[in-house]
């Protein structure tokens, strides 16, 4: 018959085979990062070029003040920055600079874009991390409580809360929080960075919408896991309810939630832009909005690029965490 089966099922896979999925993730995400850089920088460039009005006049206004803007100062700016070159030359010049990791100087302040970006990035990451932590903690906890009795009182109350939180756009939610906590109660600062408690309101605004999503997903995931065969088996093995939760429910819920986190990265970044502007938080979103206002092209491109790469970075981290948490290979073909 010529059939031979060499069963190697018992042996653990060699190290090389275990690292292969890791390498595949890194390769795929690295390619994605390169694509994102090209696409985002080109799109930014095209959008700024197509904005109405002469860029040189806007930049001159930013540099010297509105009163000092004349045709000659605009011409000086144009010559200084090479804005009289053809568009494609400017674009290629920018690409070449990015390849050398040189993000250029701000057209307005003449400061090094890389330095400014570093400060903004740190502030944004601080805000995003705080929001994510809050959202994860409260959202997952609410979802876990709701999942204990699907269809019960807690479940329905959580459902209502989730709907309400999602129905509020972040800027409205932010304003409402400012009105309550800063204006009426006066317990928290409405804006600023660094001084006591200034991060609380922006992080809370961002976290509430995210927490609602987390609650929804973790509720469905955990309810499914609690009804699964392996949780039933863990119980009849004699494990206490607490051990079943710690060893089986959380671990499996984590696999789904980590994957979901990657999907939510985009919403997080989008929220960061809006919230930072609202609360005057000096992060990437704030920097982007200001750069757009002053037509500070290198700053626009650099901050948009940083935001886009942040999405890729969060997704890469989620992929790697997923690989570590879930040993099952993806797209595995079943055979009999």
């Amino acid at each position: 018959m010529g059939t031979e089966v060499s069963a190697q099922l018992d042996a653990a896979p060699p190290v090389k085979a275990r690292l292969a999925p890791l390498a595949a993730v890194l390769r795929r995400r690295a390619l994605q990062a390169v694509g994102v850089v090209l696409l985002v920088s080109t799109a930014c460039f095209a959008i700024v070029q197509s904005l109405p009005g002469d860029i040189a006049f806007r930049i001159a206004a930013g540099r010297y003040g509105y009163d000092a803007v004349t045709a000659s100062s605009a011409a000086a700016v144009r010559a200084d920055l090479g804005l009289d070159q053809p568009a494609w030359q400017q674009l290629f010049g920018w690409w070449a600079d990015v390849a050398r990791l040189d993000l250029g100087k701000s057209l307005v302040t003449n400061a090094d874009v890389g330095d400014e970006l570093g400060l903004s990035l740190a502030a944004s990451l601080q805000l995003a991390a705080a929001a994510l932590l809050l959202a994860c903690a409260f959202g997952t906890a609410a979802g876990a409580f709701a999942a204990r009795h699907p269809g019960g009182l807690v479940d329905r109350a959580t459902d209502a809360g989730v709907t309400l939180a999602r129905a509020f756009p972040p800027f409205l939610l932010g304003l409402a929080l400012i009105l309550v906590f800063s204006v009426h109660l006066g317990v928290l600062p409405a804006a600023g960075h660094g001084d006591g408690g200034s991060i609380i309101l922006p992080a809370l605004t961002l976290a509430i919408g995210l927490a609602a999503l987390f609650a929804r997903v973790s509720r469905d995931t955990i309810a499914g896991i609690l009804a699964s065969d392996y949780v039933g088996f863990a119980r009849t093995k004699g494990l206490s309810a607490r051990l079943v939760y710690l060893r089986h429910v959380l671990r499996n819920a984590g696999v789904t939630l980590i994957a979901y986190l990657g999907v939510q990265a985009l919403i997080l970044i989008e929220g960061v832009v809006v919230i930072e502007s609202l609360f005057g938080w000096p992060g990437l979103g704030h920097a982007l909005v200001h750069a757009v206002f002053w037509r500070d092209l290198p700053m626009i491109q650099a901050s948009a690029l940083a935001l886009a790469l942040l999405v890729v970075a969060i997704n890469t981290a989620a992929d790697l965490a997923g690989l570590a948490a879930d040993p099952r290979p993806r797209n595995r073909k079943a055979f009999q």
Binding site: M1, G2, T3, E4, V5, S6, A7, Q8, L9, D10, A11, A12, S228, D229, Y230, G232, F233, A234, R235, T236, K237, G238, L239, L243, R247, H248, R251, N252, V255, A325, D326, P327, R328, P329, R332, K333, F335, Q336
Partner: protein, 478 residues
């Protein structure tokens, strides 16, 4: 220690699902309950265990370990789990946590875990080694075969040294070799003085376990006695029917059929086929032809590549080496496949009738053909108004037979069509299928791990994976 059940009933909205006045379980005397799906045998096991769904009402009393427990209160058995009462679950592949290594899942059942983590670890290692899984302690469940997963689940269920072991359909989906290993494992639990209650529709497993056999039907025990007697000389008509449903006892007109003449046209010819998965060679240099009207069975243990070979012959999967050619008469719709799990082969949210209407419209078939086939396969037309999840597995598989046969195929590929069904339902389904195959003179390729079914149905047989060891357990010292 004995386990004594008295006046056990399970009801759902006034309907009685289980009614067993008395059941006595003793050490060294295994008890096996057989019967078809829906007879209440699984519910009986879960009532004793205390894992019944809350919408069912149970009554009665349970004498265990010298104390009397009220069966209605499911919570009073919880503290016995793992130490006195253990459950070997159905479908071990689903009962093992996919994200945790096997060793950890066994160790956590050790009494005193997690405080005595180190002892638990070494006890789990010893137990797994004794079961021939020493190398798999660090493996994740998805890398185990069905039989290995069953042994891992056995280790996890019994590491707490519970004296009462309840096994609920433990051989579901296992091939013959793995089933024999399982019978040996359960037998070992009995030998060391344990109490064993097994629920199964697999009569061969009941024979191997010995002890006492109870036959359940419609919520009650219709016959009981020593296994040898009940299974060899059944006195109740239902038990007789159950035993006659084993493929080795079948006699049907469609069975005696001469093989098609050698000049019958070849529908499918595969030449020099080879396929491997993840470094494992499933088969190589294999040539298979299927002629018009022929019945070919592909059999072998789980994981030997029989479904893969069938899919290659259907050109659903590409071989690594070799070629498959189809005759011209296998045009649109004349090649049909019957799937192992019919629930996955029907869209879950569309009524069955809607699905059939679309099929009739798509192929411009006469709706009268459907009206003709439904009674021929002993199905009520009302079923068409339901969703796939609202009919039984046997009914759904017969509907799948109709769906395939409506197109008058020249070749039907049936992939383990009855491996998830009980014996009587299997017989009904295979009969319905074979009557249609016979009437339409259609060629059949049947994939199965059940040699007696292959023997009953097919004129020609192809066995894969003959050289694999069927009993890995026997090789390791106990």
């Amino acid at each position: 220690m004995n386990l004594h059940v008295k006046d056990l009933t399970v009801t759902h909205r006034g309907r009685t699902l289980v009614d067993v006045p008395e059941l006595e379980l003793q050490p060294r005397r295994p008890v096996t309950i057989v019967g078809e799906s829906g007879s209440g045998k699984s519910l009986l096991a879960h009532t004793i265990m205390g894992t019944l769904p809350p919408e069912l009402t149970a009554r009665g009393s349970l004498l265990i370990d010298g104390q009397v427990l009220d069966i209605a209160d499911m919570a009073n058995r919880r503290r016995l789990w793992g130490r006195t009462l253990a459950l070997l679950p159905q479908e071990p592949v689903l009962a093992l946590d996919p994200t945790m290594r096997v060793g950890g899942q066994v160790a956590e059942g050790f009494p005193g875990f997690p405080a005595r983590r180190r002892e638990a670890r070494s006890a789990a290692g010893t137990l797994l080694k004794a079961l021939g899984l020493g190398a798999s302690a660090q493996a994740y469940p998805h890398t185990l075969s069905g039989g290995m997963a069953q042994r891992a689940a056995f280790a996890a269920a019994t590491i707490g040294q519970a004296s009462v072991l309840i096994a609920d359909e433990p051989s579901k989906g296992l091939d013959v070799g793995a089933r024999d290993e399982l019978a040996a494992l359960l037998g070992r639990h009995v030998e060391v003085g344990g109490i064993l209650l097994t629920i199964t529709h697999d009569l061969e497993l009941a024979r191997q376990l010995g002890g006492e056999v109870l036959v359940m039907r419609d919520a009650t025990v219709v016959e009981h006695g020593p296994a040898g007697q009940v299974l060899a000389e059944p006195s109740h008509s239902y038990t007789q029917r159950l035993i006659a449903a084993e493929p080795s006892h079948w006699t049907y007109p469609w069975m005696d059929r001469t093989a098609p003449a050698a000049e019958a046209p070849r529908l499918v010819s595969g030449r020099g086929l080879a396929k491997s998965f993840g470094g494992r060679t499933l088969f190589s240099d294999l040539s298979v032809a299927v002629r018009a009207g022929e019945r070919l069975a592909i059999s072998g243990p789980s994981g030997c590549g029989k479904t893969t070979l069938g899919n290659i012959l259907l050109r659903l999967t590409a071989p690594d080496v070799g070629q498959v050619s189809h005759a011209a008469e296998l045009g649109v719709g004349r090649l049909q496949k019957l799937y192992q799990d019919p629930a996955l082969a029907f869209p879950p949210r569309a009524t069955l009738g809607d699905g059939f209407r679309d099929l009739l419209r798509r192929h411009r078939l006469d709706p009268a053909r459907l009206d003709e086939l439904l009674p021929a396969l002993r199905l009520q037309p009302e079923l068409l108004g339901r969703l796939p999840g609202q009919v039984s597995g046997g009914e759904l598989q017969r509907l799948a037979v109709i769906r395939a046969m409506l197109l008058e195929p020249a070749l039907l590929f049936a992939d383990e069509p009855t491996s998830r069904l009980d014996l009587i339902t299997q017989e009904e389904t295979i009969c319905a299928l074979m009557e249609q195959v016979d009437r339409q003179d259609c060629a059949l390729v049947l994939v199965t791990h059940d040699e007696s079914l292959a023997h009953a149905v097919a004129g020609r047989r192809l066995q894969l994976g003959q050289d694999t060891s069927t009993s890995r357990l026997a090789k390791t010292p106990a």
